[in-house]
């Protein structure tokens, strides 16, 4: 179970990736030791609240960001600048303060002795990094990642880009069936935009492979209070709206009622 806490921490180090991507590192014994792969934090640039009185009177929502890595007392968030909230985060430098609520949600189930495929699309990459580290010593792990173009892809075993600028040309789902067959995959873990997860599920479920996916959703509270992030989960006859921030973000793909999105 998760009991998200609120705290403010200084950014220790900022790592630049391609254009719109960057990593914020925080050095903190507690944060750097709790949190499992697939869990996330709701984070915000403190400035957006503290300057509220003069720069911006209206503080905005926190944004859900996965744990990208935890190592040696550090925790990292890999972030893509897409809108207002992530743009505010993109302006932070070492020493600037971050507000955090978390760790939130439940992580991926962790197996041993399996042949595992990690499947990530776009900003689904960050949680896979941490997950991969946890799995790699006890499983056979393959990692496929896809993005729109070169700037959207990062180190992994098999890269796909929609414009073909690097790796295979096409959507990452195009190569899933073959990969599963070739590597005799037992379990797939996926993370990315809903349409991609839907397409992946289509293929993977037909092949009868176990599949856990981390779902995206717009969030307000991030702690299970508002029911704003709910998605339909259950069997065809008996499903419920479960909270991505509380019961998720990882769900068994079989239980996600894709037809209701």
């Amino acid at each position: 179970m998760n009991n998200p806490q609120y705290c403010q921490r200084a950014i220790q180090y900022r790592e630049e990736l391609s254009d719109d991507y960057f990593i914020l590192w925080i050095w903190d014994e507690v944060l750097g030791s709790i949190g499992r792969p697939g869990q996330f934090y709701e984070i915000r640039a403190l400035a957006s609240l503290k300057n509220a009185s003069n720069v911006q009177k209206i503080p905005k929502l926190f944004k859900p960001i996965s744990i990208y890595d935890i190592q040696g007392g550090r925790i990292g968030f890999m972030i893509k600048k897409v809108g207002e909230g992530t743009t505010a985060l993109s302006k932070l430098r070492s020493g600037d303060m971050l507000e955090l609520i978390g760790p939130a949600g439940n992580g991926f189930p962790i197996y041993r002795g399996k042949r595992i495929l990690l499947l990530s699309g776009g900003i689904g990459y960050p949680p896979m990094w941490y997950l991969q580290k946890e799995l790699i010593n006890h499983n056979q792990v393959y990692w496929m990642h896809g993005g729109a173009r070169q700037g959207d892809v990062f180190p992994c075993d098999e890269i796909w880009t929609e414009d073909g600028s690097i790796g295979h040309k096409g959507k990452v789902c195009d190569g899933v069936a073959e990969n599963i067959r070739k590597n005799e995959i037992d379990i797939v873990y996926s993370c990315g935009p809903i349409p991609m997860l839907m397409a992946a599920n289509e293929i993977i479920s037909q092949m009868g492979i176990e599949h856990y996916c981390s779902l995206e959703s717009y969030m307000a509270c991030g702690i299970g209070v508002c029911h704003g992030c709910a998605v339909p989960i259950g069997s065809k006859d008996k499903w419920d709206y479960l909270r991505v921030c509380k019961e998720g973000p990882v769900f068994n793909a079989e239980e996600v009622r894709w037809e209701l999105f």
């Binding site: 998200p4 209206i58 503080p59 717009y218 307000a220 509270c221």
Partner: protein, 316 residues
């Protein structure tokens, strides 16, 4: 006693009732409550409950409710649009699972928010809850757009409001607070109907009708289309309606709608609110509640005032 109030009292020993206020039959240690659906036990991980005068839970209905399809949320320039659709586990599960948790965890008056699809459903829910200990009052949510009474939404028709209240008010000696909708032509009429029917306080306002559309492709940001608008952008509206209702009735008002900090809270108290609640602000500032109470306490100490000195004392 909680750390926050202790801090205020430490500064001024005779400030013990600085923040005390009454909401109908309830005496509240502080005027601050939380808006239904925006706050739960999880939030109490962030701060000490002693800054709150009462705890209002998410609205409960007779049967479990799925709620509305996603996406359910969108943040606009000045607030939040939500379309939760009263998702809740239903009365039975509430009594069996949630209520014991609240009783165990909370040392605050618990106000249970309920909604029904007919007057008799309200009666049934109330009769069941009356058998449960540990409840200090009810918030009668007649302002949710999903609740229909023969085609007329409850909260917008004074006669229906009056009928409902005359039926349920004799059933309980607990606090009976009626939650009003802002989406009406004449809030004073509805407020009066609730009062004459036997409500002992009013809560207002619920969400304002709102919508947001993706300008690029014309897709509604919310699956259901028209939804509920809350947060700072509705503050002037909530304040006007609170003032109008306060002018119309004698029962106390628990006001909400865009309250983010102690300054906002004071505006509502001047306008006529006996207590206030934080809703959307819980999402944008996890410490909004304790900060509000600290700010309010400091203001009162500095100006040598009690909260009850200010209620409804707006001047022009």
């Amino acid at each position: 006693m909680g750390a926050i109030l202790n801090e205020i009292w430490r500064r001024s020993p005779n400030a013990i009732d600085l923040l005390t206020t009454k909401l109908g039959k309830l005496e509240l240690k502080t005027p601050l409550s939380v808006a239904s659906g925006t706050f739960d036990l999880e939030n109490l991980e962030f701060f000490d409950e002693s800054c709150l005068g009462a705890f209002v839970c998410k609205t409960i209905t007779r049967y479990p409710k799925h709620g509305n399809p996603p996406p359910r949320l969108y943040e606009t320039e000045a607030g939040l649009i939500n379309s939760i659709g009263l998702q809740n586990p239903g009365l039975d599960n509430f009594i069996a699972e949630k209520l014991p948790l609240y009783r165990e965890r909370l040392r605050l008056p618990l106000i249970v928010s309920i909604s029904g699809s007919s007057i008799s459903e309200f009666e049934y829910i109330l009769s069941r809850l009356e058998t449960c200990p540990g409840i200090s009052g009810y918030e009668i949510n007649i302002s949710c757009p999903n609740v229909e009474n023969e085609g007329i939404a409850f909260g917008v028709c004074p006669d229906v409001v009056f009928d409902l209240l005359t039926k349920i008010s004799p059933m309980t000696s607990r606090e009976l607070c009626v939650k009003l909708s802002p989406n009406v032509t004449d809030i004073a009429q509805i407020a009066k109907a609730a009062e004459s029917g036997g409500a002992s306080s009013l809560a207002m306002i619920n969400s304002v009708w709102g919508m947001a559309i993706n300008y690029r492709n014309g897709k509604s940001h919310i699956k259901k289309g028209v939804a509920g608008y809350t947060g700072i952008g509705i503050k002037p509206i909530a304040l006007a309606l609170t003032y109008k209702a306060a002018q119309a009735v004698n029962i106390p008002i628990l006001a909400m709608g865009g309250i983010y900090n102690w300054k906002d809270a004071l505006e509502f108290i001047w306008a006529g609110a006996s207590a206030i609640a934080i809703g959307t602000a819980n999402f944008v500032n996890p410490l909004a509640a304790p900060e509000l109470i600290m700010g309010l306490g400091e203001y009162l100490l500095e100006n040598d005032l009690k909260i009850t000195d200010l209620i409804g004392k707006v001047s022009f």
